[in-house]
Symmetry: C2
Subunit: 169 residues, 2 copies
């Protein structure tokens, strides 16, 4: 009887940490991130940096409102006009200082780290913090996008590299 009930359920828990035979009604929440949204002051400035500068491709672009870019399997980076963000989500913390987040782009060698930071500088990223050896055993530096969001370009050999750097490279 249980088997019949499960077979009739359209959705099943999809993530390995959950029992895949559970119907979705019994799943707490798959550990999946679908979109990361960043509030931006000027969507067109973001477009110039990410598309014209880094050579990335837009998946969805509503000029002046939102720009979405595929940054992985089943993953979008969304750059959303800050006024629209605040109207839906709430007021953003103002004042000096950084956003409390970073985005990392991991690669397979220290040489690639230096190369990408140089590319970012060439297309106007400011500031760019040159890569250094880190106490956790890797090599990384940062660049800022037009809104100051920090991208860390990292070579993190070992477990993290095996998890996040595509093996097909």
């Amino acid at each position: 009887m249980t088997t019949l009930a499960l077979e009739s359920s359209k959705f099943l828990c999809a993530w390995p940490c959950h029992d895949a035979r559970l119907p979705w009604e019994a799943c707490p929440m798959d550990q999946r991130l679908s979109l990361i949204t960043l509030a931006v002051a000027d969507v067109e400035a973001s477009r110039r940096f990410y598309l014209a500068g880094l050579g990335w491709a837009a998946e969805i672009h509503v000029p002046g409102e939102v720009l979405m870019i595929r940054t992985g399997q089943h993953l979008l980076l969304s750059l959303w006009d800050a006024r629209e963000f605040e109207a839906e989500v709430g007021p953003i913390a103002a004042g000096p200082g950084l956003a409390p987040i970073t985005l990392a782009h991991n690669v397979g060698s220290p040489g690639e780290v230096d190369q990408i930071l140089a590319t970012a500088r060439d297309v106007g990223a400011d500031p760019v913090q040159d890569a250094v050896r880190r106490e956790w055993g890797g090599f990384s530096g940062y660049f800022a996008d037009p809104d100051g969001y920090r991208w860390e370009i990292a070579h993190a050999p070992g477990q993290i590299e095996r998890l996040v750097v595509p093996p097909a490279r």
Copy 2:
């Protein structure tokens, strides 16, 4: 001669927006996000919420310092002690208001949205903003993690659903 040079290159551009025959030295930067890092006040509070509460599994956990969770293929969510974050990245904007980012978890139906928001409330998320119909055609609500980071639980039918909700569900 060009072909020989390319064959001798260890890494090639891996993303469809780039010419896959380019050696990595000529690639600007693949459009890949490897980690999203959130500065948190108390890594153990994050652990209780994400692992004990939502039932997620840790990939890497250094108590009091960092907790990393797989949230997609080649993707990690990293919850990093805010003091260590500031020492490496820089001072975080203080004062009232939200971080200028949201994380979205997209699902295949409005019913799943309501179910997950109820689960989040059950495990202590505060505040939880019930889901409503959105002008962009979907249905979504938000919950806050222990540091106030907003997760949007969304049903976004159409192009976004096809891109970010795994078809195997």
